[in-house]
């Protein structure tokens, strides 16, 4: 066991050396020519959710760095379609290309190899290289804080969350929300239902109603559409939005929204590319609440001042690195130990999180 672990480490080190291509440990990249930036979206840029949050970052890049940014929309998550778009941009002299979806991971890595002089960034991607950095954010930090808000207002001691697919990045949101709520009152339970789609506003609203029928009085959405919030508003329930400030969809019941501020990543990163100081990280950029990529939208009127104070306190601890929501002891849904006391869930374990913590009502499909 020890031996295989050691040889695994060696192999990992060897792989890292191979990947970097040179003996130096860090990747470095030098931009040739004037910077020309292009963003590629898998759907409409103004989708009211994920893309729109990134597009706000694009606008900041234009404004703060004085760069003109080209945009391609509705480029499917399909290797040939994406590659055609990238080829066209490169041919026209674009040398900083930003992808915006997990589905671009593989084709963008191929393109990065084919065009070593072009800098690539990809949101929620899984691939990295000497001229490619994937970026995502520790969304669970925001969800833990939203959980505190939800736990402070619930009367029925039952919350709900509409989620997409049972994958790590979704499960950590749900679990952090549950942990945050239970830090207020350990008797709170949270119904989590997967829609098994990323984008179906009609179904998201219907799933929200199924949850509200279970007497949940705070409903959170981990997806992009506002229809779960509208369903909660109709029933007088409170709600938590995601991606952007969704208060317009539930002016009465909104507590807050967990929001992205991608400008906090995109502006400095693209600036470093143009300055020639960019060094893509081997495992991608994993931004958090400390540099403001993740945050909460302004609180709604139902959030009590005491909860606001507690959230501010916990947030300050997170920013200072003194608190992480996934610090043990954490129990799984069935009461078994997920994280022993004093230990912290590693980044790697976060990405493969495939369980609910205690206090969840719902079914986690078996892994794979």
């Amino acid at each position: 066991m020890v031996k295989s672990f050691a040889s695994g480490l060696l192999a990992l080190g060897a792989a890292a050396t191979l990947l970097s291509g040179t003996a130096t440990s860090a990747w470095s990249f030098e931009l040739k020519g004037e910077p020309k930036v292009a963003f590629i979206y898998a759907a409409a840029a103004k989708d009211g959710g994920w893309n729109e949050a990134i597009d706000a970052g694009r606008a900041a890049v234009e404004k703060d760095l004085g760069l003109t940014v080209a945009v391609a929309e509705n480029v499917p998550e399909d290797a040939t379609k994406l590659r055609a778009a990238i080829d066209l941009f490169v041919k026209r002299g674009f040398n900083i290309i930003v992808g915006t979806t997990y589905g671009y991971s593989e084709p963008i890595a191929e393109a990065a190899k084919a065009y070593p002089d072009v800098a690539f960034l990809n949101a929620s991607g899984t691939t990295n290289g000497p001229n490619l950095e994937s970026f995502y954010a520790r969304t669970y930090q925001g969800w833990y804080l939203a959980g505190i808000a939800a736990g402070s207002v619930t009367q029925s001691k039952k919350l709900g969350m509409v989620a997409g697919f049972p994958v790590g990045v979704v499960n950590w949101d749900a679990n952090a929300f549950i942990l945050g709520a239970r830090s207020v009152d350990p008797s709170i339970e949270t119904v989590v239902v997967y829609t098994n789609s990323w984008w179906d506003p009609v179904k998201e609203g219907q799933v929200a109603e199924a949850i509200l029928d279970q007497n949940a009085d705070v409903l959170a959405t981990d997806l992009s559409s506002t229809s779960p919030l509208a369903a909660a508003e109709r029933r007088g329930a409170s709600s938590v939005g995601y991606q952007l400030d969704m208060s317009h969809a539930a002016p009465e019941g909104i507590l807050t929204s967990v929001v992205f501020h991608w400008d906090r990543y995109l502006v400095p990163t693209i600036k470093s590319i143009t300055d020639g100081t960019w060094t893509p990280q081997e495992y991608g950029a994993f931004e958090g609440i400390d540099n403001g990529v993740i945050g909460l939208a302004p609180f709604g009127k139902r959030v009590p001042d005491a909860a606001k104070a507690k959230i501010a306190e916990v947030q300050a601890k997170m920013v200072a690195g003194a608190f992480d929501p996934f610090t043990g002891p954490i129990e799984k849904q069935d009461g078994s130990v997920a994280v022993p006391a004093g230990e912290k869930v590693s980044d790697e374990a976060l990405w493969s999180m495939d369980y609910f913590v205690k206090g969840a009502i719902g079914t986690m499909p078996a892994a794979q």
Partner: protein
């Protein structure tokens, strides 16, 4: 438990209605012999138009009607391509899907993700104290009732009226219908446009009644499910009703079981609507069937000079 049952039953019509409306539209078109794959795109145009009209401050009822008109309009283009210019029906149908989704995306740009007050349910807030029937009824909306009326109307039109007979004749044997004095092209165009109106209504239902919002891609494959439903239902409006209800029931059940924490395999629940609907409709069409119900001239191009 009865709370769960009522909640589940009350949710079914909203799942079933959009599928059923689109399926009825496709049945009209295909019984006249025009293979129609365009539902997904026509529904997108209907959904976008309905939302855009309501967001412009016009009454939701008129928004629904605008969605119907938009669906009919796009289908008129499809009808002209396949009936007048004798385009390939499969290709033209797929093209109409792309055009519908694309147009809806471009024209609907300013209306994306803007919630509005659309068609409301009979009771906005279902208080748990009310009786089971009342709780069921208050969860429905006026368009659910319209949908039920339309099922009967389409069935009655096709099976019991002279115009319906002519439409079916065109779909079974256009040459003979032509000899009998039926204007084959006009009947086909009318059937496709009427079908498009129903698909537009289905799309408008999704935006104006079901979700009160428009976003690109919100049809989310429901048009394709309607295409399959028509085949499973053997081009019969009554069986389409049955199929849509079964599909809706299975689809509504999954999230509700998850919400009570029932240990059911999620992926099995995802498959259930398709598997169950297929099984029931295949069985129902096997019972007491002779031959096929598929319109004999479905997908064929009728040229008068080819008549033998």
């Amino acid at each position: 438990m009865s709370g769960f049952l009522v909640g589940w039953l009350a949710a079914i019509p909203a799942y079933a209605a959009p599928l059923l409306l689109a399926a009825l539209g496709l049945i009209l078109s295909e019984r006249a012999g025009v293979l129609n794959l365009s539902a997904e795109g026509v529904m997108a145009i209907g959904a976008m138009t309905g939302a855009a009209v309501v967001l412009s401050g016009i009454a939701p009822t008129l928004g629904i009607l605008a969605g119907v008109a938009a669906g009919a309009g796009l289908s008129l283009v499809f009808a002209i391509v396949v009936v007048v210019f004798r385009g390939d029906q499969t290709l033209a149908g797929l093209t109409t899907v792309a055009v519908g989704i694309g147009l809806a995306g471009v024209l609907g740009r300013d209306y994306v993700q803007k919630p509005f007050a659309g068609i409301e349910r009979f009771g906005a807030d279902a208080a748990p104290a009310t009786g089971a029937f009342e709780r069921f009824f208050l969860q429905q909306d006026p368009l659910i009732l319209v949908t039920l009326v339309l099922v009967v109307a389409v069935w009655w039109f096709l099976e019991r009226t002279r115009a319906g007979l002519q439409l079916r004749a065109v779909g079974e044997d256009p040459g003979t219908a032509d000899v009998a004095g039926v204007d084959v092209q006009m009947v086909r165009i009318a059937a496709v446009v009427a079908g498009g109106a129903l698909c537009g209504l289905s799309g408008a239902y999704l935006s104006v009644a079901a979700s009160h919002v428009w976003v690109e891609g919100m049809i989310a494959g429901r048009g394709w499910i309607a295409v399959a439903l028509v085949i499973f239902a053997r081009w019969d409006a009554r069986r389409a009703l049955l199929g849509a209800l079964i599909f809706g029931a299975a689809e509504a059940l999954g999230p509700r079981l998850q919400a009570v924490g029932a240990p059911v395999p999620t992926y099995l629940m995802m498959m259930l609507p398709y598997a169950l609907t297929l099984a029931v409709l295949v069985l129902s069409s096997l019972v007491g069937r002779r031959g096929t119900d598929e319109p004999a001239a479905l997908g064929s191009i009728y040229l008068r000079q080819d008549k033998s």
